[in-house]
Each structure stands twice: as structure tokens, then as C-alpha cells.
């Protein structure tokens, strides 16, 4: 077995004395879709924020491609090719759609036009609204823009924090379709979702996070079929 692309070992993170993550270990292999499911406040977002360097790691290590990245600045981690689509989309409302894409490629020095075209091909709606301020887009369009913006850095790993949050069911379907497309393009994806059903369906590997500790782990299908997971996260009764 090859070494995982991203390896989290015994990760502990605390906010002002409160431990949000109490030592979790996750492995993400190249080309996989890995999903992290769990209830509100379980520490899903914290995990992603720790990987991207936004919150300090208290204990444990995060290795990417064999190099320790925990303790690095967010800039360094982005430069490595680990990009995040943050929760709540967080597009820059005062920048145009095109500028949002350009700022996604902020660290790149090479030509980015081909990448802009690629994003527009994935999301034709964005091209139509190229000159519009991002703040005027609908929620679904903003989510597409947030994904497009992250793609501009040509990520090796794309981390997505609750991409379906607050979106209409049809739009959610589009978002998950896009995730699969990106996966087909060879991007490794680490997906955090409350919409466990949809997430597990596309995941190669899945982890359940419960108040800072890891619960079950398995393939997406295994967890989808597990009674306890069904009851706790899928809102379905264990016995049919």
C-alpha cells in the first residue's frame, strides 16, 4: 500500500482551553473522495481549518506528501496545493466574479487564462456573470464561484466545508455532480458534510466524527449501510 497523500495523526486542537479535537487520525489517499460526517460542533470544520493552517495545532502532526505541514502558515499550505472552499462560501462580495477567480490564483505567477476558461466551462453561469459583483450572485452561484476560486490554484487536495449548506435540493445535486467531475479530473477531495446521505454516496472513504473524537470509519457504502450511522445521521430508522 502506498503512503497516503494527506495523513493526520493524533490531531488535537483547542479553542481557549476547550478541546475541539481530542486526537483524531485520518488518512486521505491520492485520488480519493474522503468525507467527514458528524453533527454540529463535532469538530469537522475545525479539522479542515487545522489542515489549512487557520487554527494552531496543539498536538499531533499533519503530513502532506511526506512533509509535515502542521505549524505552517496558511500561505505555505495553499502554495502546496491544499485549497479550501470555506463554509458559507465566503466569496469576496466586493470583487467581481472574474476578480474572485483571479484572486484564487493569487500565488501563481504563470498564465491563468486557461484555468479561468476551465472554470467557466464547468460553470457556464459564472461566465455570464463575469463582471457582476460576487455579492449579487445567488447562493448556488456563490458556491460555484467558491469552488471555481479554489480550482484556480490547481489544487492537489480540495477541501470543502459544507458545500450544500443552505442550498436548494436541485442546486445541491449540481454541487455533488461537480464534486464527482473534479474527482474524475484527478483531484483528491476531502469533504465535510452534514448532508451525510449524499456525501457517503460518493465517498471512497468516510469517517464519523463525534465531539472531537473519531467514531466509525469505512468506505462510503459501508457507513451508508450501517444501522447506527443510518439512525444517527441519515434520519432513517435502523429497522425497516
Amino acid at each position: 500500500m502506498s503512503t497516503p497523500l494527506l495523513k493526520i495523526m493524533d490531531l488535537k486542537v483547542s479553542y481557549g482551553g476547550i478541546e475541539a479535537l481530542k486526537g483524531i487520525s485520518i488518512e486521505v489517499n491520492k485520488g480519493e473522495i474522503v468525507t467527514l460526517i458528524g453533527a454540529n460542533g463535532a469538530g469537522k470544520s475545525t479539522t479542515l481549518r487545522a489542515i489549512s493552517g487557520l487554527v494552531p495545532v496543539k498536538e499531533g502532526t499533519i503530513t502532506y506528501d511526506g512533509n509535515v505541514i502542521s505549524g505552517q502558515s496558511p500561505q505555505k499550505i495553499v502554495a502546496e496545493g491544499i485549497c479550501m472552499v470555506p463554509e458559507g462560501r465566503r466569496v469576496f462580495p466586493n470583487l467581481t466574479v472574474l476578480e474572485n477567480l483571479k484572486i484564487g490564483a493569487y500565488l501563481r505567477k504563470d498564465e491563468i487564462q486557461a484555468d479561468i476558461d476551465h472554470v467557466y466551462q464547468l460553470f457556464p453561469r459564472l461566465q455570464e456573470r463575469s463582471w457582476q459583483l460576487a455579492g449579487t450572485l445567488s447562493g448556488g452561484e456563490q458556491q460555484m464561484l467558491a469552488v471555481g476560486r479554489a480550482l484556480m490554484m490547481r489544487p492537489k487536495i480540495l477541501m470543502m466545508d459544507e458545500p450544500s449548506l443552505g442550498l436548494a435540493p436541485l442546486v445541491i445535486r449540481d454541487i455533488f455532480r461537480i464534486i464527482e467531475t473534479l474527482h474524475d479530473e484527478g483531484i483528491t477531495i476531502l469533504l465535510v458534510e452534514q448532508n451525510a446521505n449524499a456525501a457517503l454516496r460518493i465517498a471512497d472513504s468516510a469517517y464519523v466524527l463525534e465531539t472531537g473524537i473519531l467514531g466509525m470509519h469505512g468506505t462510503g457504502e459501508e457507513l451508508l449501510g450501517d444501522d447506527r450511522v443510518r439512525e444517527a445521521y441519515l434520519g432513517k430508522s435502523a429497522r425497516k
Binding site: P74, V78, F92, Y106
Partner: protein
């Protein structure tokens, strides 16, 4: 009538331009850090003092001007690094108190160096000469100021709207964390903001002190306060707002200063009323009135804090 008003209007436009150059520093720093940089007026004053000392040490005038711009920009950069950066995650009120501390440190430092004596500002021949236009005789600087201000503002707006660093500044002003996720170095962007603000204040100081001829440690207080009012008046955070606000305040202030003369000459009053005394009070009264009707200022955006 017009001949009486014109000289006041002209000096109003000029003072307005000088206020504008200071006000941009307030509004840009607020835009990014949500901080009222109380030390900004003193940076303006220090630029004046630096000019006095550099010129008196025998440095040629053109080089002195460049040095003043450079040193003031550097001072702005250092103030941010020393007094504000360590407080990045502290409550906003702490940073504000730090700014007040910097303000008094600069004033006391200048008091120490100068002994509290008025320093004669060097004469810059290119802008100190007299010109007569119509009914007004004034220094060349009165004409140079608005032109230079507008050129600098246009350049700044281009920088902000059409360059990579400008785009980063706009992004950082909205969202620190997401900007970091784009690989933007927040601290560098903030430094650039302080450097630009201080540079413009230095340009403003050269124009302002050429007109007023002396510098003392408190010289930054009034123009700083007026520029701050201009920035709030225009809608703090907005650069065009600050510039327009500054011109309006400069013009209003000077018209009030000349109101006695204007009214007397047009026969409305028989004896001077001493209205000029109220020109500063008027500036602030105007601010209050505007804020009552438009709390966010002329061009201010309504900020809805997300929960």
C-alpha cells in the same frame, strides 16, 4: 460679489486638497483594520518636522522632499508593525488606545527634539511664489494642491481597482481569513496600506506647511481632526468619499472665515460679526447634521454584521 468670494473659494479648494491627502490615510486604514488611526495626524506633523531638519542639515531641496516622503512612509510602516500588529487579535478598543499612545509618543518626541519652539518650514521655490488669478492673489501652492491631489487620487484608485495588490487590499478589507486561504499575506497588505496613507500624508504636509510656514508638535492635531471629519463625512472606508468630504469641508471652512467680509461688502451687515471664530465649530456642526440624516456618510456603505 464673486470677486469677494473667489479668493476664499480658492483657498478652500486648496485646504480641501490637503485635508483629502490626510483623509485618505484615515479611510484606507479604517477600511482594512476598522481602526481609527489617531496617530495619523501626528504622522503628518512629523513629516513637517522631518522636512525642517533634513533641509537645515544642508540636503538639497529636491532630495529633501524625496527623503521626507520616504521617511514618513517608513514611519507609517513601523508604527503599524510596532503598535498595531501585535494587537491583531485583541479587541478593537485596545488597538485604538494603542493609536492614542502612538499619537502622544510622536508629539512628545517632537516636543523633546524641538524644545516646543515653532519651526520655520523651508520655502520651496516652485510652489511658494505668488500668483494672481482674477481677484485673488495667492501662493502657487494653492493652485498646485488640487491638481496634485486629483492626480494622486486617480493613481490610487487605479492601483486599488486594477492591480493585484489593489485586489488583495479589497479582499482583505472584507475577509481576513478567506484572504489567507487565497495565499494573501495579510500583514503585507496592511503594511502597504499604512505606507500609502503615510506617503499621501507626507505629500499633504509639504503642501500644507508651505502655506502655513511653521510646524510645532501640535500642528497635526487640527488638520488631522478635520481630515478625520472629512473621512467620516464622506463615509469612512470610501476613498472618493474622503476626497469629496475633504473638499467640501475645506471650502465651507474658508467661506465661513470670509463670511464677515463677504456679507459686509455686499451690504448685508454694517459691522463685522466675528463669524470667522466659528469656522471650526461650523465644521463639526456640519458633520453632526450630515450624520443625523445619513449616518454612514455621503458614500458610506451600510454594514450589516453577519451573525
Amino acid at each position: 460679489m464673486w470677486n469677494t468670494v473667489f479668493p476664499y473659494l480658492l483657498s478652500g479648494i486648496s485646504v480641501g486638497g490637503q485635508y483629502a491627502l490626510i483623509a485618505i490615510g484615515y479611510t484606507m486604514v479604517y477600511g482594512i483594520l476598522r481602526l481609527i488611526n489617531f496617530a495619523h495626524g501626528d504622522v503628518f506633523m512629523v513629516a513637517g518636522i522631518v522636512m525642517v531638519y533634513v533641509v537645515s542639515s544642508g540636503v538639497p531641496l529636491w532630495l529633501s522632499i524625496l527623503l521626507v516622503l520616504l521617511i514618513t512612509s517608513l514611519i507609517g510602516f513601523l508604527i503599524e508593525r510596532v503598535a498595531y500588529k501585535p494587537l491583531r487579535t485583541a479587541p478593537r478598543m485596545s488597538v485604538m488606545i494603542s493609536a492614542i499612545g502612538v499619537s502622544y509618543t510622536l508629539q512628545n518626541l517632537v516636543l523633546y527634539i524641538t524644545g516646543g519652539l515653532n519651526q520655520i518650514y523651508p520655502t520651496i521655490p516652485w510652489i511658494s511664489g505668488s500668483v494672481t488669478i482674477g481677484s485673488a492673489t495667492t501662493k502657487m501652492v494653492t493652485l498646485v494642491t488640487p491638481v496634485l491631489t486629483i492626480i494622486l487620487v486617480v493613481a490610487l484608485v487605479q492601483l486599488i481597482n486594477h492591480t493585484k495588490i489593489g485586489m488583495a487590499m479589497r479582499a482583505v478589507s472584507k475577509d481576513f481569513e478567506t484572504s489567507q486561504l487565497m495565499g494573501i499575506k495579510i500583514n503585507s497588505v496592511i503594511s502597504v496600506t499604512f505606507v500609502i496613507g503615510s506617503f499621501l500624508a507626507a505629500v499633504g504636509s509639504i503642501l500644507y506647511f508651505t502655506n502655513y510656514t511653521t510646524v510645532i508638535q501640535t500642528s497635526g492635531a487640527m488638520p488631522g481632526l478635520k481630515a478625520f471629519v472629512a473621512a467620516v463625512f464622506g463615509g469612512i472606508g470610501s476613498i472618493p468619499g474622503a476626497v469629496i468630504g475633504a473638499f467640501i469641508i475645506g471650502i465651507m471652512e474658508n467661506i465661513i472665515k470670509g463670511l464677515d467680509v463677504i456679507l459686509f461688502k455686499s451690504g448685508v451687515i454694517k459691522a463685522p460679526l466675528g463669524l470667522a471664530t466659528f469656522s471650526d465649530a461650523f465644521t463639526f456642526a456640519l458633520l453632526i447634521v450630515i450624520l443625523v440624516f445619513k449616518p454612514t456618510g455621503l458614500f458610506g456603505e451600510k454594514v450589516t454584521d453577519k451573525v
